[in-house]
Amino acid sequence: MAEAKKIITSSNVHLFYGKFEALKGIDLDFNQNEITALIGPSGCGKSTYLRTLNRMNDLIPGVTITGNVSLRGNNIYSPNEDVVQLRKQVGMVFQQPNPFPFSIYENVIYGLRLAGVKDKAVLDEAVETSLKQAAIWDEVKDHLHESALSLSGGQQQRVCIARVLAVKPDVILLDEPTSALDPISSTQIENMLLELRDQYTIILVTHSMHQASRISDKTAFFLTGNLIEFADTKQMFLNPKEKETEDYITGRFG
């Protein structure tokens, strides 16, 4: 098998909220075209870490970040970094579906409009491709100009994913993307992520051990701001090296 290509590397990442150290020196690399699950109890730093990968923490007052995070070898925290461009390359999907109060069509092309794309053919094409990739095209193709808010939660979340896909990112970050959804919608999203893996690198924060074990290639376990273990998902769920990992995934924690 060809050796996997690293797309994001991070080393010695520390993050402080004021004086509180939320990340205590994380070293973690991500391979291209893999799904990596970040797991751990609430407050362990997994979502905070996820947000360092496209500088979403910059928006939070009092945050200090040290260490290195690179996308394809370029330090994303360098002073010259174009954060808008970075967030196009590294898109994010949140826990609660957050469609804008526009039509489905306008939601999907939001990023392209911001980038100044006006050609209707290009926009139409982007809408169809992205909605197909997000496995929702068949459900919404006849209602593209209706409000995205009229959709169900699971559909809204897939439209949000299509919105991220429309700007053709390299990496998709997902912060508990299915925790507000029912099991069927969750399975649809999981199947979709498995399909998207061929074209994108996916990093997913999840509280569901089932979800991590079912769809991820690699799993990282965080605890109190430390990365305790990072390995192939098979290894993590069959025979983890660390006792804390075993305790957490078997539910024996605390």
Partner: protein
Amino acid sequence: MRRLFVDELNDLHVRFSEMGMMVNEAIYKSVKAFINHDKALAREVIHEDKHINEREVDLEKRSFELIALQQPVTTDLRVIVTVMKASSDLERMGDHAVSIAKSTIRVKGETRVPQIEEDIAGMAEAVKEMVEQVLDAYVKEDSARARKIALEDHGINDFSSRIYKECIRQMQDNPETVIGSMDYMLVSSYLERIGDYVTNICEWIVYLKTGKITELNSNAIEDKF
């Protein structure tokens, strides 16, 4: 349903069926070697057994991974349990084929009894038929047929007791046949055990379909204890 899981489950089915065919071939070859006094073929059976053993380990590993990563329930869980249990029955059947092959290598040159060998050939044919049928019933998840196949084990047991009696008679009449007849009895008991393992697999097919662990052909009933 989750696509990846469905694919992996199908893969497990295919690999299990392949293992069944490997075992069936081993039984067929071992008996053929025994009847034709073919040492080279017997050695082949012994040599190829490692592939059967490897396949069992592979199926177990895949089953463990599916259980750990996919947390299957209901039918999905029963499919995996069935493969795990039935593959260990298949592996034991393969070991019996090896024992028959070893007898072939040992028995060569001793005084032989064509009449008993004919019975053994008939018994082997019946066992082979049972193995083929059980694999087919597994693929079709046909529990009614599995129950019927298990009943055929009675015929195998009849062969076994007939061969036993005939061997005793031969040994009493002609002490020269003692060593050969001992091997006949062993081979017949290996075939009889293979029939028992087929019955086990029938039980797993019933379990797969109904969720009930059922004893087919209890020895106690069979032997009227």
